[in-house]
Symmetry: C2
Subunit: 714 residues, 2 copies
């Protein structure tokens, strides 16, 4: 079985996709029934292994000999499909164990989705499977399909569809019905699925296990997924890392309606970390392409199978209609692509080819006249493909009777002479035999065709992003640096009482995060002494693990310029705090240097039940509170992740220096994020939440002014 | 002709859509040619009026007698189509004038789109038309089609398409080719166009004129438009107001790539007002539905033609697949719809109808079992329709052989028993004759059907928004209140020198906008006197129309607590300003009260070449500069517009009171926006830009602390 808690457990999974024999327990002679459809489909599609229908009522199903029970089957059984009511499942599983069945697909509903009793039944299924080295798909699932060898262990309607070959997309879904729709839609769009897996309740093997296995199959080039929520974030992370290394894109449609407010938390970070934002951050971090609709996966797959690398974001648009070109250019720019004006030699060429009134800029508008002359189209396309300032060409063409074949041939020739991606946009719905021939010619040459320009732009943007991510793998930047913490962290982290600001900052200092110069005072005179040592002016802050909101408690006094001020403030701060929280254990008063002006930022962490420690970055104060303008990543983060977190916030401009101020020291923020990441990774089990709020950032350097570390079960 | 500069000039436009006779100048016997296609289409579709092909080379075209010149035509000619090279157009127009032709459609290219010479030619076309009361469509256009009476004055390929009846969408397009694609796509989706108008270069009659006319035609229920840029913002505004009053929605696909940075401006407002943001604000203000893609118009039209009012945003989703339901619910919520949990009696009913493990919440998941039992589907639908907590039902259904017809009949019956909108989502692509019959039954009952759930959600959101907008028409809130300005504004606005802060604030005060208490001093002693009158502390600010950035000039001194401080500051402020700008004419030093803390907001205006004065609102300082978090509306604004502007910014939360602060006085901001709106409307020709930055807003009241009014040509 698995090799470690964070590893992908793919042992035995291969039997789901390559069983030498399949038993269908609860087989039916009615092909529309769950127990009937797979038997019929296995027969019809010519599955080469052995098929054993199991049902005491029949002698034979679809020409296969039917057995009264699994134990009556003469040969070995690799896969058993259970299509019986929930209450019979455990018995059949016992028989599977006795027969040394490798994998079991459980169609039956009535498990964790129906409440406490079902959950208990499901837990017993899991235990039984684990004890007997059986891998389980389901229960409450539509099963799976492996197109290449006609393993149809599913009762979804898609079992009846003719597969499109070659199948290069493996689809894994937490919703059976939705997954089946996606499969059907892709099939209609001419995109072949190598496999379809409906994971159901994931009693034992889960989403990530299947994805992890499928990545290793040579036919799978793209993974599509429908996800409501991962069971194990670490596993999904491992799978995503593996996929990125293998350059096999994972595309996920993630749904889930838990809003940001749902999480109960005492820290800023916790209260701002919504489920959807965390998934979004995770996907961005791990190179998983998030999709929004059925068509996104097929459009991506169509572009991806051309095998071209998207090396840059500069797009040229070659089209017949000015209006559509402009619309497409707008969309491209909104998606983060650029549609640069064509200049230099290419511009001169285009102006020579195009009629006076046509636009030789970008989008390139052929106008009705220009569009009618085939050679113009080809010449323009070649000029754009040859332009080193262009990375991708979106070309629109129609195949008219007279000239269509020449257009198609020229397109193929030009595309074969370059490594640049070219995407053809054309109406695919035209039924004429002539147009179909033109399209077949282009398609067989491996050139991607889409009918919807906006969808093409979306897919191009996704591929550009994905290839950027994939290129970063293995470069030095992406590895988190190992930081050696100073001594004493252990003792602090395990100290019995709630941690005070002073203690929290000592922990930060041990991890090399700069904090304000300061000292703890337990008497007026000690406070004065500390103040003199630090140099005036100073601030005084009450220190108690039980007083979280020092300002509210009147526990802070700022900008004290002389010994007497410090003495008075010391008394006042103590008195206020006593009034505010009479029973709080006070450790003393912190005497702290006053800082010059800088930009206030916040770095925080919170624990997510799925992904563990999540790191947040934002600008301090009102930016975080009013605008929720923050970014997230899952710990541990790389230097590049940290840089992206900082650039991602809308208020990034503030850090670049505004109103004549010098830019803030972004490097020191990156460094602080990396150190926080390591701290919460090293003490993953101890720390619940952490807030550095604010970290004041100067044009050089930064200092943490306040910090809070909450431990688990506090 | 027109009745005023801001009025829609529809006189004569009716002849484009209802000509009794059409002459095609440059007629061709080849149906693929621009001069051939309309003749053929008029014949084929049985246009009832007279058709006169004009071409000296032919005796006859498509069975119509052909004349050598327009002047040879025996009868009256209402419409002439010119399909000749640009250089012949003026001659033909002269003939049109002689023949008293009412309207002329000019296909010919070679006008303003090709440069200076073409622009001049176009200007002559316009003058000739105006002088002879001829209305012009084009030049450089694809012409127009009126479906009801088969007026095909177009050479676009769509001239050959069979129209879908009834046509209720009138489409007006600044891009011919794109408009034609939209027409074709809508036709394919079963949405009928009442007319199609390609406006080309708009030499004379423009986009808004055609829309204005079409609104009055009874067959037109929805207007669709493709817009690159309006020629006259006031006209478009008049048309939009008329449409909203008539409850005929206008949907516009607006493209255009001018970024926010393109505008040169000296004020904040000017530098933040990008073209696209202004159009966006205009559309929102005027109830124009902005669409993003071809399919948005057809989906909207399909929902709209059911005639149901969308009274609220609470959506119930009834579907077969849990996954798709969740996806749809996510999308609905992102679109500003709500998908509330079903409770009370309805919930009890649903739980009774649905199998144990089905979700009776919302989305309502029938699961495979529930979906199979027809009566369940119908019962659930009825329960949802009857629930007063639900405004719209999105219902998914499939028409299976056994039960499909009963599902369809039940759906029709339920829908006819309610006024609530119900949208059916189902696969339309199924070719079986049975499914087609089911769909026809539902469609004939006026129930909207869409195959794409996400598109249905988008269309529902758009209709909800549109109906909210339409309901506001005529309610008192929507009328701007007339403010009587105090005396002296005229003199100030027309004062010879650049306006100082003191003068700008006097103008504001005349319009009832609260400003800081202050007085102008021209000597140290006057400053002290003013300060005593105001009460300490005070601020001093240099006053000169030539020093725009007082802080930079060292021309501001804050928080002065005593007479001597004021004297010293007076000297310093003057000396600094002299150093900064030795030649600036200084009017004196402003002595101003210091304000207590409040929320700083900015209200500004800038002139847009199309729409005139545009008003901006945002939070002050870094919010505007770093985040560009501002909202716009076109002046004059209504109270509701002002309220929407304030609520629209992302930082709205800051105004609601944060960190224990009381909420800011939003009413006083609304009032200030209305007063600014009237000021720039009253002095539309004088004022170029205006910035109140900041207006400090308290929990009660507000005061403008600084203001700048720039006049035109300054």
């Amino acid at each position: 079985m698995g090799t470690g808690p964070f590893d992908i457990d793919t042992s035995g999974i291969e039997f789901f996709y390559h069983p030498r024999s399949i038993a269908i327990v609860g087989a039916s002679t009615k092909s529309a029934k769950p127990g009937g459809r797979p038997v019929m489909a296995l027969r019809k599609r010519g599955y080469a292994g052995k098929v054993y229908p199991i049902n005491p009522s029949y002698e034979e199903v679809e020409g296969y000999k039917c057995y009264p029970s699994l134990l009556d089957v003469p040969g070995d059984v690799d896969m058993a499909i259970i299509s019986l009511p929930a209450e019979s499942v455990l018995d059949v599983l016992q028989q599977c164990a006795a027969k040394d069945v490798k994998v079991v697909v459980i169609f039956s509903a009535g498990f964790s989705e129906v409440g406490a009793e079902g959950r208990e039944l499901q837990e017993r299924v899991r235990e039984l499977a684990r004890a007997n080295n059986i891998r389980i798909l389901g229960p409450n699932c539509l099963g799976l399909i492996n197109s290449a060898n006609s393993v149809i262990a599913s009762f979804a309607f898609i079992a009846d569809l003719e597969p499109v070959t070659p199948g290069t997309v493996a689809f894994v879904s937490q919703s059976g019905a939705f997954g089946a729709m996606m499969y059907a839609q892709a099939t209609e769009a001419g995109v072949g699925f190598s496999s379809f897996t409906s994971v159901g309740n994931e009693a034992e093997a889960e989403f990530s296990d299947f994805v992890g296995y499928l990545l290793d199959t040579p036919e799978t080039q793209v993974i599509g997924g429908y996800l409501e929520g991962a069971k194990d974030g670490d596993k999904l992370r491992s799978v995503a890392e593996k996929a990125l290394r293998m350059q096999k894109p994972i595309l996920i449609l993630k749904v889930g309606r838990t809003g940001a407010g749902a999480r109960a938390a005492s820290s800023h970070t916790g209260s701002l970390a919504g489920d959807d934002q965390i998934y979004d951050a995770f996907f961005r971090q791990m190179g998983i392409v998030r999709i929004e609709a059925l068509g996104d996966l097929t459009a991506f797959a169509i572009l991806h199978r051309s095998g071209r690398e998207y090396r840059g974001r500069r797009v040229a648009i070659l089209g017949g209609s000015g209006g559509q070109g402009v619309l497409l250019a707008d969309r491209c720019e909104r998606l983060g692509l650029s549609v640069p004006e064509i200049t230099g030699a290419t511009r001169e060429k285009l102006e020579q080819y195009l009629p006076d009134f046509a636009s030789a800029r970008n989008p390139i508008d052929l106008t009705a006249q220009g569009g009618r002359d085939t050679s113009t189209w080809g010449k323009c396309l070649r000029a754009l493909v040859d332009d080193p300032g262009i990375d991708v060409v979106l070309a629109q063409a129609f195949f008219r009777e007279e000239v269509g074949m020449r257009v198609a041939e020229e397109l193929v020739e030009i595309c074969q002479s370059t490594g640049k991606p070219v995407v053809l946009m054309t109406h695919l719905r035209d039924d004429s035999e002539f147009v179909s021939r033109c399209i077949a010619l282009v398609e067989n040459a491996g050139i991607p065709i889409l009918s919807d320009g906006l969808q093409a732009a979306e897919a191009v943007a996704k591929l550009c992003w994905y290839h950027e991510k994939a290129r970063q793998v293995g470069d030095g930047e992406s590895l988190p640096a190992r930081i050696l913490p100073g001594e004493g962290v252990d003792a602090l982290i395990h100290s019995p009482d709630r941690l005070s600001e002073f203690q929290c900052k000592r922990i930060l200092r041990c991890y090399g995060i700069p904090v304000t110069s300061e000292g703890l005072a337990t008497s007026e005179e000690m406070a004065v002494e500390q103040a003199r040592k630090l140099g005036y002016p100073v601030a005084l802050k009450i220190q108690s693990g039980e007083i979280l909101h020092k300002t509210e408690a009147g526990g802070i006094s700022l900008d004290l310029g002389a010994d007497d001020d410090v003495r008075a403030a010391y008394r006042e701060v103590l008195a206020n705090s006593k009034r505010f929280s009479p029973d709080a254990a006070v450790q003393g008063v912190l005497v702290q240097e006053m800082l010059k002006d800088g930009v206030e930022v916040i770095i925080g962490t919170t624990r997510d039940p799925v992904f563990g420690h999540v790191i947040m970055f934002g600008l301090g104060g009102i930016f975080v509170e009013a605008l929720r303008d923050v970014s997230f990543r899952i710990a541990p983060v790389t230097r590049r992740d940290a840089e992206e977190m900082i650039r991602e916030i809308k208020g990034y401009r503030v850090l670049q220096g505004m109103r004549g101020k010098p830019p803030a020291d972004v490097d020191v923020i990156v460094d602080a994020i990396l150190r926080v990441s390591q701290l919460v990774t090293d003490y993953a089990d101890e720390i619940e939440e952490l807030d550095i709020n604010p970290l004041v950032v100067f044009s050089e350097g930064a200092k943490a002014v306040d910090a809070l570390v909450t431990r688990r079960r506090e």
